[in-house]
C-alpha cells in the first residue's frame, strides 16, 4: 500500500469516527440545535444509550 493510499485510508477512518460521534450525540438528544431537524433514519436507534 503506497503512502497516498495509507493517508487516505487514515483520513477516512478519522472522518468515520467523528461522524459516529455525531450519530451518538444525535441519538441521545432531543433535536438539532439549529432551526431545522432532518428526518432521522430508523437505524439511529442503534446509537441510543437506552434501547
Amino acid at each position: 500500500m503506497n503512502l497516498k493510499k495509507k493517508v487516505e485510508s487514515k483520513a477516512a477512518e478519522l472522518t468515520a469516527r467523528t461522524l459516529t460521534h455525531v450519530l451518538r450525540t444525535e441519538a441521545n438528544s432531543t433535536a438539532c440545535f439549529v432551526v431545522y431537524q432532518p428526518k432521522a433514519p430508523k437505524e439511529l436507534g442503534r446509537f441510543r444509550r437506552e434501547k
Partner: protein
C-alpha cells in the same frame, strides 16, 4: 447537497471506513454536522469581526446545549433554518450591545427558564422521542437551565453585566423558539 453527501459516504465505503449498509445513516450524520456547524461558524466569525467574540460565544453556548435537549421550533427547509439561526443570534448581539444593563433581561430569563423547564422536551415529527427519553431529557434540560441561570447571576454579582446578559439571552432565545410550538399545541 445530496451529491456531496453521496460522494462523501461513497468515499468512506470505498476506504472501508463504514459498511455500505450504513450509507443512509452516515449521510444523515454529515448533513446534521453541516447544518449545525455552518450557522455556528458564521455567527462566531461575525461576532469576531464586530469585536464581540466573547459575547457571541456566551450567547451560543447555553443556547446550543439547552436547545439540544429542550428542543423547540424547527423550520421546514434547511435554507430558512440557516438564515433564521444566524439572524436570531445576530439579533441577540444587537440586544447585548444596546440593552445589556436592562432590568427586563433577568425578568425574561426567569420567565423563559420556567417555561423551558415545564415544556421541555419538545420533539419534532422527524425525530420522535420515547416517554422514557422525554423524562430523561426534561431532567437534563432543567439542570442545564439552572446552571445557565446560576452562571448569569454570578456574573451579574461580579459586575460582568454584559456577559451575564449574554448567557441570559442564550436561555431566553431557547424559550422564545419553543413558543410557536407551545402556542400551536394550545390552539389545537
Amino acid at each position: 447537497m445530496d451529491r456531496l453527501l453521496s460522494e462523501l459516504t461513497d468515499w468512506l465505503i470505498h476506504n472501508r471506513a463504514i459498511s455500505s449498509d450504513d450509507k443512509e445513516l452516515y449521510e444523515y450524520a454529515i448533513y446534521s454536522f453541516i447544518i449545525s456547524t455552518v450557522p455556528l461558524v458564521i455567527f462566531l466569525v461575525i461576532s469576531g469581526i464586530i469585536g464581540m467574540f466573547p459575547e457571541g460565544f456566551l450567547i451560543i453556548m447555553p443556547f446550543m446545549v439547552i436547545r439540544k435537549f429542550g428542543g423547540g421550533y424547527h423550520a421546514k427547509h434547511a435554507y430558512i433554518c440557516m438564515i433564521m439561526s444566524t439572524g436570531l443570534l445576530a439579533g441577540c448581539l444587537y440586544v447585548v450591545s444596546h440593552f445589556s444593563g436592562s432590568r427586563l433581561i433577568p425578568l425574561f430569563l426567569l420567565v423563559s427558564g420556567i417555561s423551558i423547564a415545564i415544556n421541555s422536551p419538545i420533539d419534532h415529527e422527524n425525530k420522535r422521542l420515547t416517554e422514557q427519553e422525554k423524562m430523561r431529557y426534561q431532567r437534563t434540560t432543567i439542570v442545564l437551565v439552572l446552571a445557565a441561570c446560576f452562571v448569569s447571576v454570578v456574573m451579574n454579582v461580579m459586575g460582568y453585566n454584559r456577559y451575564s446578559s449574554c448567557v441570559a439571552l442564550g436561555v431566553i432565545l431557547t424559550g422564545v423558539l419553543q413558543l410557536p410550538v407551545i402556542i400551536r399545541k394550545i390552539m389545537r
